[in-house]
Symmetry: C2
Subunit: 397 residues, 2 copies
Amino acid sequence: MKSVLILGGDGFCGWPTSLHLSANGYRVGIIDNLSRRHIDDELGAASLTPIASIGQRLQAWHGVAGQTIDYFHIDIANDYAGLRDAIDSFKPDAVVHFAEQRAAPYSMTNATHKRYTVDNNIRGTHNLLVAISELGRDIHVVHLGTMGVYGYDGSGLEIPEGYLDVVVKGPNEEVYPRSILFPTAPGSVYHMTKSMDQLLFQFYARNDELRITDLHQGIVWGTQTEETRLHDDLINRFDYDGDYGTVLNRFLMQAAVGHALTVHGTGGQTRALINIQDTVRCIRLAIEHPPQRGDRVKIFNQVAETQRVRDLAKTISEMTGARIAYVDNPRKEAAENDLRVSNATFRALGLKPILLDQQLFNETIEIVERFKDRYNPAVVAARSVWTRDNKPGVVKD
Amino acid sequence: MKSVLILGGDGFCGWPTSLHLSANGYRVGIIDNLSRRHIDDELGAASLTPIASIGQRLQAWHGVAGQTIDYFHIDIANDYAGLRDAIDSFKPDAVVHFAEQRAAPYSMTNATHKRYTVDNNIRGTHNLLVAISELGRDIHVVHLGTMGVYGYDGSGLEIPEGYLDVVVKGPNEEVYPRSILFPTAPGSVYHMTKSMDQLLFQFYARNDELRITDLHQGIVWGTQTEETRLHDDLINRFDYDGDYGTVLNRFLMQAAVGHALTVHGTGGQTRALINIQDTVRCIRLAIEHPPQRGDRVKIFNQVAETQRVRDLAKTISEMTGARIAYVDNPRKEAAENDLRVSNATFRALGLKPILLDQQLFNETIEIVERFKDRYNPAVVAARSVWTRDNKPGVVKD
């Protein structure tokens, strides 16, 4: 039986991944410092869905699936010895690393959040790589990255999977082909840390021959997976606040409570999307297809499709009757961009991506309807200033 | 009068830079946590030249130059408020950032040193950028980077100054020109942090319009500058130990004490070099030619020439009669490499680089002769393991 440690296994992607692997023959351990719950407290926000304690979650899973998931309360950024000892004792074949602060707006709010995001994400990732190197174990690292590292350059070129073939001209017009890491243009401190993670992975794959897969994921939508549906105490997070809520879930929430769908700028931003059910399938596919020792870092684009934000809003508006409100965009980015993304690897591995679909919207809407007495309108507005030229509070409904 | 804060102003490059700027009409402040002195204690090593306390150094400078340099004892990686308050009160026009752990071998010795190097360097650089952004000041940041981030790919192409013009092919063979950050291939955790620094600079230049110059420096040789020669208490560091000693100074030390010149591998590595006197001149030129707000990060190669290590050894051997000993190379790198580097910007700004020269060797040899009773042969061997396949102690004389 293969063993997998999930760093950040209490979070929005980590929790359903833990259950999916446990349901499919893996021995699973979770490492989490519960920071996502603490940030909820800090922001005065909460998941729309009521989240059971980690103890209740694991107990419920044992009840419905008969499987035990081990839990380690460790802060991987600040407790290196704890992390190393957990890896040493659990003896995982693979480690899935979700344990990073993952909200771009949160990372831009103020100096404290900027510094926390860099410290937490870079130290955590580096500690993991150093621990595996120090233990001398041949453990496959699967990391959740983001499509957002690339920025949006507007060329219309399809974004390849991690590496870009380019040609460099010599002094006499002779040409040298090169395969380079796709240049990044992160738009937030959060995205910057994921771009820096790539350099950590490149180094440790080359110097220590660590086996690493980096998954550049699109924006996740949806809430439940096959496994989280099995018991109310297994329910997954549903974030709709200005920091952690992602665009599609936020629109569905706004529609359900009779609020306008708030579109930033012209809504001309094109984004890559993926359903949470596909996230967990992709992670499993990545674990099942590891690189060999000495290979370069494997980089897959973990996306199902791309959509323009205003088109998403229109779809939800037509379906629900909600009106659309255009508000200022706090981000420093092009008003309109195209985005084409290759997801050839996961398709070749058998993934048939779930596309945006009324039936799945309906499931999300049902969840929103069921829990809408927990809705707190005060947390929906983006609070992030982004650049020093912006003024807080510009983005409102 | 322009004001400059020197982060790491007690170190090998920072100290002579502080004096050079103070001698040339700048109001200078130094921020340093004296970590380089503490690492000497940790390693049981010491500069061959006796280094006065920071208080004695500043007093001696006041005595010979009549200038006051302010000193702030701040750990910029771990005391954000202290750093921000010092910038707020000192009101510098420019900050020169040397405050990073700068020895590649030290950064590779063990898990603690790897983690310290990443924590210290990334946190320090990020804290500086956040502080300037938070204060809303238009301060020019001049950072000491390294040529070593690029690795040595063996193509023979000249390394341009930071950015590389490439061509990307579209699906129908149409071509898209791009100017990208020159792809890095760092060979140590230390070099990796300097590569990660570049991403921090790119982000803060773009998002916050910070004005940033990043200097990719070659290996420094020599000890004294015009200013450090003025008083014994102003003397600069001379490191010759396996962690901090750089190749040319180490050869000169070995020759002076009758030791063989220890060449790693075949000595086929080609390296970029610069004399310490040119380092301080280049920093001043960089300060005097800042980017404008909104410009991309300025990147200059701060090098005088390139030399193959075994040729360096031969030169010193012929001059001094020392024999050459070839020992195993702890680094994971090509045995032989070419290296061509553009230094067009500094040449255009008027720098006439000091090249390797018998007269300057003689000055270094005089210093070595003068202090050779302080020589400790036990610290010369490289202690770094580099990869987990290496065994400590492989590299010996």
